[in-house]
Symmetry: C2
Subunit: 427 residues, 2 copies
Amino acid sequence: MAPLRIGIAGLGHVGCGLIELVERQDRLRIPGQIEITGVSARSQSRNRPVDTSKYRWFDDAATLAEDPDVDVFVELIGGSDGPAKFAVEEALKAGKPVITANKALIAKHGMALAKLAEEKQVDLLFEAAVAGGIPVVRVLRDSLAGVEIKRVSGILNGTCNFLTTTMLETGRSYDDVLAEAQKLGYAEADPTLDVSGMDAAHKAAILSAIAFSADLDFSKVKVSGVDTIELEDLRLADRLGLRIKLIAEGVLTDDGVVCRVEPMALPVSHPLARIDGSLNTVRIEGDPVGAVTLTGPGAGAGPTASAVMGDVAKMFRPAIRPAFGRAEHHMARPFTEGRGDEVSAFFLSMRLADKPGALAALSESLAAEGVSVDKILQDSADESGASPVAIVTHRCARSNMQAALARLQKFAIPVDPPRLIRIEAAS
Amino acid sequence: MAPLRIGIAGLGHVGCGLIELVERQDRLRIPGQIEITGVSARSQSRNRPVDTSKYRWFDDAATLAEDPDVDVFVELIGGSDGPAKFAVEEALKAGKPVITANKALIAKHGMALAKLAEEKQVDLLFEAAVAGGIPVVRVLRDSLAGVEIKRVSGILNGTCNFLTTTMLETGRSYDDVLAEAQKLGYAEADPTLDVSGMDAAHKAAILSAIAFSADLDFSKVKVSGVDTIELEDLRLADRLGLRIKLIAEGVLTDDGVVCRVEPMALPVSHPLARIDGSLNTVRIEGDPVGAVTLTGPGAGAGPTASAVMGDVAKMFRPAIRPAFGRAEHHMARPFTEGRGDEVSAFFLSMRLADKPGALAALSESLAAEGVSVDKILQDSADESGASPVAIVTHRCARSNMQAALARLQKFAIPVDPPRLIRIEAAS
Ligand SMILES: NC(=O)c1ccc[n+]([C@@H]2O[C@H](COP(=O)([O-])OP(=O)(O)OC[C@H]3O[C@@H](n4cnc5c(N)ncnc54)[C@H](OP(=O)(O)O)[C@@H]3O)[C@@H](O)[C@H]2O)c1
Ligand SMILES: NC(=O)c1ccc[n+]([C@@H]2O[C@H](COP(=O)([O-])OP(=O)(O)OC[C@H]3O[C@@H](n4cnc5c(N)ncnc54)[C@H](OP(=O)(O)O)[C@@H]3O)[C@@H](O)[C@H]2O)c1
């Protein structure tokens, strides 16, 4: 298979993230070879996190789009109009597939661009435009094609979610937390698109068009943001068992598709209420699936670039995609039982005879094998004279746990067969 | 485009669910027409939830698989060997694409079948085999092809999760809750495959093969189930801040892929610890995406059939998949701003002058417009003499809320602009 030659316009967060991924493509699961045949940005001399000097430089994105050495044009400039739109149109008109992360462009001009792509019989892919690293576009479009979707809702702007979460947690004001988000790089220097709800609205409109096969009309989307939310609102709501979050939704009604973004109050038991910090989440409700929820990083150079890379991988279009993703001779990594001895924290539960020295025997056995105890809980004995005992250990080797339990046998204290359970690290 | 002719072998839960979906395909987003050209099951006379008499009957699944009128063979019989395996092999040998929901078959013979499919250059799809309605197979295989995956873990058996969740919640014994699960149809008459962890292991092995391009060898998978878990273990763990759940995982190590299923204890703050009841969830960790989590119904006729339908939709293989999933002339549903007046519960927050009668004026205004109050919270006044007041209403029309607020103005009580926020229904 000939290499796939891509041209990348825009070398900012996402563009440089993509180059970094292309340069280590051998460690990914791409069905063929990717080559970067040209790049474009505003300034050729700017310092970037990756070395772009080895790629052919184009001052003009549209010229790159039309270059005969470019098989696929990747637009990572941004903006609903201007150079991004112009270059994407030129690529499609030249009969080239386009990949973009540009939600503003797709929300505003998606229908016209899709029509152009259809006329030219080329792909227009935009997985990265919605919810960054969460592969919701293809899930909705392809995997759930057999589901009649009723509603799509979610938290689609990490900055807004970070703001409301952090205000409530720390008791700090909107302005204060926004300034922190900017310092951390969560919020843009100009956060208007985010906090006004506009960014989430772009994404919700795109998801609604796909979910409901609807004629995307962004002018019909109702948008309000978190910029009107005060700390006091969050606190009062909290005391009434509610979390206020910026919720984006598309709902199928008898009149058509209602798409909107606004702060909503969620009962604390609601699954979306627990999505904290800068995470994104999308909940898809339909018949006959019920609800499927996808959660993950909604932005950031790496996650967004990985979504672009997923779209690039799709461009190879072999006659048949291998069942497990890669051709059989590439399925080379062995399954293994692993090394017997694993290191973990453990939960140990047993019933111990309620005799003097029983707990001491247990503690000694553990200590003798170097197992250190984090928490211990002994309950009162039952009628048979056995006490339930549970222990949480610090990290240790399973072999040491087993040796400690063997040692315990020697004390001749009746013990119900102990149950040893690994503890998953917090995350 | 000519209709796609499918043959369905197995008319149980999933098979009948699929027929039901095919019969209402016009309401789904399938890129073309699907026709059922033949069906097969053990007993032709059995009563089924859908009328199968209008479809051509085959006593033998393998004969259906080879029938010249069948473009795609759909295997929904089950079992890792026997008639399911034989019919799938016959279909592939005859050069026909196969769709299956059979995790036992794929876990045990997936590599050999994938090889056969590759030789014949036909698709072998099995989205429904892992986690029912959650589209994790295609997400891992295609969407996340640009991610270097480190670990896949999750709750992949709803029966086991229902058991551990319900035991802890209700304080009932394992046997008691298992009997209930069987009555509710969550657990099979023979629950061995589920409670032994074997079913989850099949799924984890399939996901591991895809995630790590690994040579699936089911004999290397370590499996233990929930059948050894006692109520006391769950309770003691709970008191130590841990939830015990059956966790399936595949991890990339220096020696190869370690895949296993076992009860694990999760800190209550861990995202998987909150997955209750019969839900499934899969967490994919990798570079540069961090973690993406998918949650939804892991079994059931409807969700599983919708996953099969997603695979069927994929078989149309038009030259180009339209950008929004359907050809432009099908993108017909309008976006609309919706009717102005919506019915919802509301959260209302304001600062009310701390004057006698202020709260009464608010209550009267609401009552006069027919808005009934669920909860109310007034806090002590600040230095300026204003009290924060928050109200949760029962469901009412937004217009009534607005009329009530207009009415409140007339009382000439200074009020900071009230903030009106919709409350999302619990779910
Ligand atoms: N960042 C994220 O987390 C994220 C997530 C999802 C989607 N997206 C989308 O991805 C796109 C790119 O975002 P980003 O964060 O990477 O933006 P960014 O860091 O601001 O980078 C934008 C890039 O575009 C270049 N550019 C500007 N005008 C240009 C022109 N006329 N021709 C060629 N290049 C031009 C800039 O060049 P210079 O570097 O020379 O100034 C810069 O390299 C946007 O559509 C955004 O909405 C971003
Ligand atoms: N149920 C779920 O929630 C679920 C979820 C994910 C995956 N799956 C998988 O989907 C598959 C089907 O599951 P199910 O729940 O639908 O099973 P089921 O209800 O037990 O149905 C099995 C069907 O196979 C038929 N059958 C048995 N032997 C046959 C033969 N030799 N030739 C043709 N048909 C034969 C049976 O015929 P009769 O009806 O005449 O007896 C029955 O219709 C299994 O691989 C299962 O693991 C199921």
